[in-house]
Amino acid sequence: MAGINKVAVIGAGVMGAGIAAHVANAGIPVVLLDIVPKDGANRDAIAEGAVARMLKADPAPFMSKAAARLVTTGNTEDHLDLLAECDWIVEAVIERLDIKQALYARIDAVRKKGSVVSSNTSTIPLENLVAGLPDSFAADFCITHFFNPPRYMRLLEVVGGAKTRADALEVVSDFADRSLGKSVVRCKDRPGFIANRLGVYWLQAAVVEAIDAGLAIEDADSIIGKPMGIPKTGIFGLIDLVGLDLMPHVIGSMSQSLPANDPFHAITRPAPVVERMIAEGFTGRKGKGGFYRVNREKNKAKEAIDLGSGEYRAQRRADVPAIKAAGRSLTKLFDHDSAHGRYAWAVMGRTLAYACALVGDAADQVESIDEAMRLGYNWKFGPFELIDQVGTDWFAAKLAASGWAVPEILKIAAGKTFYRVDNGTRQVLGQDGQYHDMVRPDGVIMLADIKLKSQPVLKNGSAALWDIGDGVACFEFTSKMNALDPDIMDLLGKSIRRVKKDFKALVIYNEGSNFSVGANLGLALFAANIAAWTEIEAMVANGQATYRALKYAPFPVVAAPSGMALGGGCEILLHADAIQAHAETYAGLVEVGVGLIPGWGGCKEMLARWQSLGKLPKGPMPAIGKVFEMISTAQVAKSAAEAQEALILRPGDGVTMNRYRLLADAKAKALSLVDGYQPPAEPSFVLPGATAKVALDMAVAGFQRMGKATPHDGVVSGALAGIVSGGDTDVTETLDEDALLDLERQAFMSLVRHPDTLARVEHMLMTGKPLRN
């Protein structure tokens, strides 16, 4: 089966451009075409403008500036022949059947044989799209439905038609999985596929029920939110994000195409208050405001719509006693005898029942529906996981008591749960009433699965060591937010000794949303507040010694971050033999934000990397300057690609696009290093000492004069300059690692006693934001 080596995206709107950018993120050349604008000399203006806009956007669609260079822009009049080189052509033009079909005919004329064509439509059935086109086209055609923004939303819905070749689906799915990092959910050719069919139903039900019950939208959002693991934007906050005007569009299209007996029609009744908002331009964040707004005329007051009057009023804190009364119990919330409890049930009872109704219609497997809602709407639990939480029988009984139909799949599940663990294997209930093993695709290893099957090799309150097979051990942080604390250091030390004895290699990896946000600041601040300086110095020294032991351990160590790897969480990466990073890795030495410097070898390791690998002019100063700039400005690489540019990742380190494949890739990397493994040679440093420090101090003083650096920035940068310049040394001397570690430790200890540093730490802990003192 031929792979996908070049891609084309037609339609450079938000979705098309975002898809093209993400293909480029995977290192694949991509052609991005749009129509020729009616006016203007530049016939490629639309596609070019889209790329330019994306380079400035935040969150960034591109993982690096370099990726943008993989995008070739053009127009559909002059450059359609470029499609001849492409293995996959994605259509993302306006949702009009006639336009799409006309385009398909033109594509079919130029595309190479066996290439796959897909549409990013969210509303038009596949059978309509290919109607009238040759079978050879239909065989190569499918729907690939991305979610916005394509770089960050991990769900991809793939729909094949009756005539679609199985291997066409396979090649696109495989590419989406491995190269684009998507979780592919196969859907049937039904309106809205899975996520939007259920998601839009859910949103609409929540809106009309809130209007009927006369609820405050803040209360509604707090009910249909955290208690069920739904993001805190809730309902109205989410609609503000996607746009109020989009809703009637999608709802209209779905009600037209769904059969008359579909429960969808029950919630499509009009909502005049919302219609009026749309008519007046209050379409959400992109418009004049949505259900929530910041009123610039009223001193940026936060306001919310009153659903009854349709007027804005001051936003207020949600006040829902039912949530407190229910505790963590969803059944208690659904049963709570209050308008809020009844609302929770009216919305979620309906939505979960509709999810049940989709089994066999939109998808055959409940786990597909769960995955679609987790990844498409960021629900923490899929609908069937939520039903398991309340119990299938309780749920069926409550539906019956509410006078609603009990869906077929619930009858099949009577007395059972949808998911269970059998002998350490996760299983899911099928439509046949039998449990089936949930098999991960080839090349996927999840620590969560290993944890179901085995006991940790070592464990304490903040970390664990697991046997992941083939002689490889996995060190997992388990502390809150994966913050690094003395327990982690302690177990890491023990793990190094254990791996040496019983394993061939070590992977440092976890399945938290962030690899590690750094040292536990609360602990450190408390220790500083009670002047426990010896204890703090011991924490620094212990971290240095542990990371050093990790670096020189007699076995290969691979760190596999995903999400944030900041401060001490970045420093541990720097001490591994290799890094296998998830593409969405955000790494940096950010200690100066809290008035400190990297004290666990981070300064030293970055200096060693830039000295040996940086393509810089000769002499020690360029590397020093580079490292000083990175650390003193708390630079964070916002992707694995940017981390490569920052030399946090070295040549030879790997990037994994799919989060699910990270552990397997890291394990493979570790095993590849086992044969003939030699610990790295200790780096040495020839540094200029005082002369370099003076130069760096002058630069900082310049920033201070320009008002770009605060007084305490000067203090912290001065301490950093003292480390990276080598302290009291000069170029005739060679410093070893210990000398630099001593400098780090001394600088750390002097800063941690500084009241301005403590004020920064306190501010960060209290507000989550840096203090610019």
């Binding site: 609360g522 408390f526 220790a527 507040n529 002047a531 300086w533 204890e535 306190e762």
Partner: protein, 594 residues
């Protein structure tokens, strides 16, 4: 007969030498408060306390207050003494000059408070309560209320009370029921019963201004629905003089263990007219402003009584001839040696002395911090000072009253049977001191405040205001050959305190009962360590003056410091062990087995 002599020498030592009292006059607004002005104030206060208040202490205790037809009479001589006190300007020394006060620094005022408490605590309750009410009204009242009431409260012609407690609610004010109904003209009608109201009714002033916690009709449940009202005994007439009698009356006075000359009243409010102080439902805020200054003052009560008791026990131990010294006759000219030759008597006397002088220094530290907090030009210095005051307030209240009770009890013990009978006045100090451990938040509540609120606030920032200076002091003097004997024990206690703090912070988060179980021992460990720090500094201050003209004073200081370090501070070891053992033995004990 007990006698009292104000310890002016030691007060000057604490104020000028230890706390650098001259710095007070460098704070903006305090320029005039130099030593030339402060010394005479202290001397005059000493005179009033020694000559006017102290002679009424025992007679006031014997006679107590009486209630007849709703009228409370204070003991004989109190009315005249109050007139002298008021005319001497003593009710106004710590008040805002804008309302006729003298604006004296808190550091000075605290010393005067101590003298009053030593001389006659019951008497001190009347102006003391007025001052508490003054603080709330001054901080939160409207201008018109302040203009109408503050000048008369400041000059002492009117007195004040704080009406919090009700029959069914003491510590848990969220339960209170007294009602306030708005009348539409800005006034409210207050109805309810308050108990344990000190100075609720008496014959010392022409009017009494009650500050009353009550609920408005629309108030949320709990402490977030409590408002503070001003309810005068007599409604002021158009000239501002006491006019029509308000619907407030004294239903009974309590019969109690101590402070018998202080009228502790049951107050009935029956459609009494009042006015809101501060915002609706925000009464706790105004009440806590008062409560925090009162908690410091109650700590000073413990100190004052301990000082008075120490004076009595030393005098007796010098005079009482009984038996001979264990190591041979010391006074062959006398039929027996005075009991002061005995180690155990010395143990008791030095314990009293070390606690008294240590607590005086601690009180002065807090008081000076209040002055810095209110007057220093640098915001960060002000915040540090405020942090320290917040942190140390529960320690001062509980430690100084606990040590006050222990000290008065030791003082009584020194006199043996003569301490137990009334004649020498020693048992009265014990009885009078006992309430200080209870009111204004029991000492158990203080300990919970320390570990539950003060310790975790701002991720431990309040702790910094104490731990950082002490650690810096230890680092600076640890290697000093002469100071070593004082700083090393301090360092040992300090490490215990650090470790206990870390332990409580770690376990208390997950298991609140563990923090609760450790709280009282922790507060004592904290307090004893704070006293050790101050004793080390007092020794340091004294070392190079032992040969000067006042050498005896400084030698005694060093000797007391040595006794504190060697004989009292080791308690921290036991406290540390108890804290680290955790609360399991208490909480696992079956409730019905009690």
């Amino acid at each position: 007969m007990a006698s009292y002599k104000a310890p002016l020498r030691d007060m000057r030592f604490v104020l000028y030498e230890l706390m650098g009292g001259d710095e007070l006059s460098q704070l903006p607004g305090y320029e005039e408060f130099t030593r030339d002005l402060i010394d005479p104030v202290l001397e005059e206060a000493a005179k009033v306390c020694e000559q006017v208040l102290h002679p009424l202490n025992r007679s006031g205790d014997e006679e107590g207050c009486t209630l007849e037809n709703g009228v409370v009479r204070t003991p004989k001589g109190f009315v005249e003494a109050y007139k002298t006190f008021r005319e001497g300007g003593w009710t106004s020394i710590a008040c805002d000059p804008a309302y006729g006060g003298q604006g004296l620094p808190k550091a000075v005022n605290t010393l005067v408070e101590e003298m009053i408490c030593s001389a006659n605590l019951s008497f001190g309750m009347y102006p003391g309560l007025t001052h508490g009410a003054y603080v709330s009204l001054h901080g939160f009242g409207s201008d018109s209320l302040k203009d109408a009431y503050l000048p008369k409260m400041v000059d002492g012609t009117w007195s004040g009370t704080m009406c919090l407690t009700e029959p069914h609610c003491g510590t848990d004010l969220g339960l209170l029921r007294t009602k306030a109904v708005p009348q539409g003209d800005g006034s409210y009608k207050i109805t309810g019963t308050k108990i344990f109201i000190s100075a609720g009714e008496h014959d010392l002033t022409e009017n009494i201004v009650h500050l009353v916690l009550a609920r408005l009709p629309d108030a949320p449940a709990g402490v977030k629905g409590i408002s503070l009202f001003l309810v005068p005994k007599f409604l002021p007439d158009s000239a501002g003089n006491p006019g029509e009698r308000n619907g407030v009356s004294c239903g009974a006075i309590e019969h109690k263990m101590g402070i018998k000359a202080s009228a502790t009243c049951v107050m009935n409010f029956d459609d009494a007219t009042g006015w809101l102080i501060g915002s609706a439902h925000k009464g706790m805020q105004a009440m806590f402003a008062m409560m925090n200054t009162e908690r410091l003052s109650v700590g000073i009560q413990g100190l004052g009584l301990a000082e008075a008791s120490y004076q009595g026990s030393v005098a007796y131990a010098r005079e009482r001839l009984q038996g001979r010294s264990l190591s041979g006759v010391k006074h062959p000219d006398k039929p027996a040696d005075p009991i002061i030759v005995h180690p155990d008597v010395r143990r008791m006397l030095l314990t009293q002395r070390a606690y008294v002088e240590g607590c005086r220094a601690l009180g002065a530290w807090a008081a000076k911090s209040l002055d810095v907090k209110n007057h220093h030009p640098d915001a960060r210095v002000r915040q540090d000072a405020d942090d320290f005051v917040q942190l140390i307030t529960p320690v001062i209240k509980a430690l100084m009253t606990d040590l006050g009770f222990e000290s008065t009890n030791l003082g009584m013990q020194v006199l043996g049977g003569h301490g137990f009978i009334r004649e020498h006045g020693m048992e009265q100090y014990v009885r009078d001191c006992r309430i200080s451990q209870i009111y204004e938040g029991t000492n158990g509540i203080q300990a919970l405040d320390l570990v539950g609120r003060k310790m975790p606030a701002h991720a431990g920032r309040l702790l910094r205001s104490f731990f950082h200076p002490v650690q810096a002091y230890i680092e600076a003097h640890m290697e000093d050959a002469v100071m070593g004997e004082f700083v090393q024990p301090l360092a040992k206690a300090f490490v215990r305190l650090q470790q206990a703090t870390g332990q409580i912070a770690r376990t208390g988060m997950a298991k609140p009962d563990e923090a609760g179980a450790a709280a009282s021992d922790y507060l004592r460990l904290f307090g004893l360590t704070a006293l050790a720090y101050l004793w080390a500094r007092m020794a340091q201050q004294s070392l190079d003056q032992v040969d000067g003209e006042d050498g005896a004073f400084y030698r005694a200081k060093i000797g007391t410091a040595r006794f504190y370090m060697e004989r009292l501070l080791p308690q921290t070891g036991a406290l540390f062990s108890a804290i680290m053992a955790g609360g399991k033995s208490m909480m696992d004990f079956a409730e019905d087995a009690f």
